[in-house]
């Protein structure tokens, strides 16, 4: 079955979405991530969406759900690399992703994640 790889780096999990996701793949990622947070005790999740050239309401909801579920599993999520055109479209679509922490790129995202995990 097709899957999006989840990499472990210390106490963080890294996900880079590089394919045009169909809905089932997005759901699988959501399930896999919650499973991995639980099995590894990860403190943070970094999701790189720089390769996505659209985020529609379904993918947006998946991102918000992952962020929410990781929080209640004691992990922080940071979404990085959203393309400007995607950000403009998301806001116009009506999806502002409340509660989702974002950073411009992976480097800033990792720093944000470390800072947030340390301050907890």
């Amino acid at each position: 079955m097709e899957r999006i790889p989840i990499l472990r780096m210390g106490e963080f999990l890294l996900v880079t979405i590089q394919v045009d996701m169909h809905d089932q793949l997005a759901m699988t990622l959501q399930d896999d991530l919650s499973e991995r947070i639980s099995s590894t005790g990860a403190r943070g999740v970094l999701i790189d969406i720089s390769a996505l050239d659209i985020v529609d309401s379904f993918i947006g909801r998946m991102i918000a759900t992952i962020s929410g579920l990781s929080r209640i599993m004691d992990a922080e999520t940071v979404v990085v690399g959203m393309q400007p055109a995607v950000a403009i479209t998301l806001v116009e679509l009506g999806l502002t992703l409340p509660g989702v922490i974002t950073a411009l790129d992976v480097e800033r995202g990792m720093k944000l994640l470390r800072d947030r995990v340390q301050s907890r």
């Binding site: 169909h22 050239d53 659209i54 529609d56 309401s57 379904f58 909801r61 403009i88 479209t89 009506g94």
Partner: protein
């Protein structure tokens, strides 16, 4: 207004939503839409293709590349033979959903395009037409 090219493709299952997005992307580039407008149109197409699969039980996406003077446009028509929408006005309300979604598909798609029309009646299927111009 001239039609330069046109075509159609089925949207029967979830994977077809991805294919519909890919077609919309290819055509919006060919049409000459700028990047933000490409992104908006592809996103709207994704929402409407998913609606056709989930609520309409599958259907088709028809497309037309248009030329109107110096402007070029891409028109996409999503049609299904599903149960239709009993209350179109209600369906066009932000946040209203008959399924498990966010209720942003139809209303969001409308905000992302230049032209939007919705025809539906109970038992008569649904037809949503969107268009974006350069």
């Amino acid at each position: 207004m001239n039609t330069l090219r046109q075509g159609s493709q089925p949207i029967a299952i979830e994977q077809d939503v991805v294919l519909a997005r890919q077609t919309a992307r290819k055509l919006s580039i060919e049409c000459g839409l700028r990047l933000v407008d490409q992104t908006k149109l592809i996103t709207a197409a994704s929402e409407l293709a998913r609606n056709a699969v989930i609520y309409g039980g599958g259907g088709h996406m028809d497309w037309e590349l248009l030329e109107d003077g110096t402007r070029r446009g891409l028109r996409l028509i999503f049609r299904d033979e599903g149960p239709g929408i009993p209350d179109v006005k209600l369906a066009m309300t932000d946040g209203w959903t008959s399924g498990g979604g966010l209720g942003l598909g139809l209303t969001g798609a409308r905000r992302l395009v230049d032209e939007f029309s919705l025809e539906s009646a109970p038992g008569a299927g649904t037809r949503v037409t969107i268009c974006k111009w350069t």
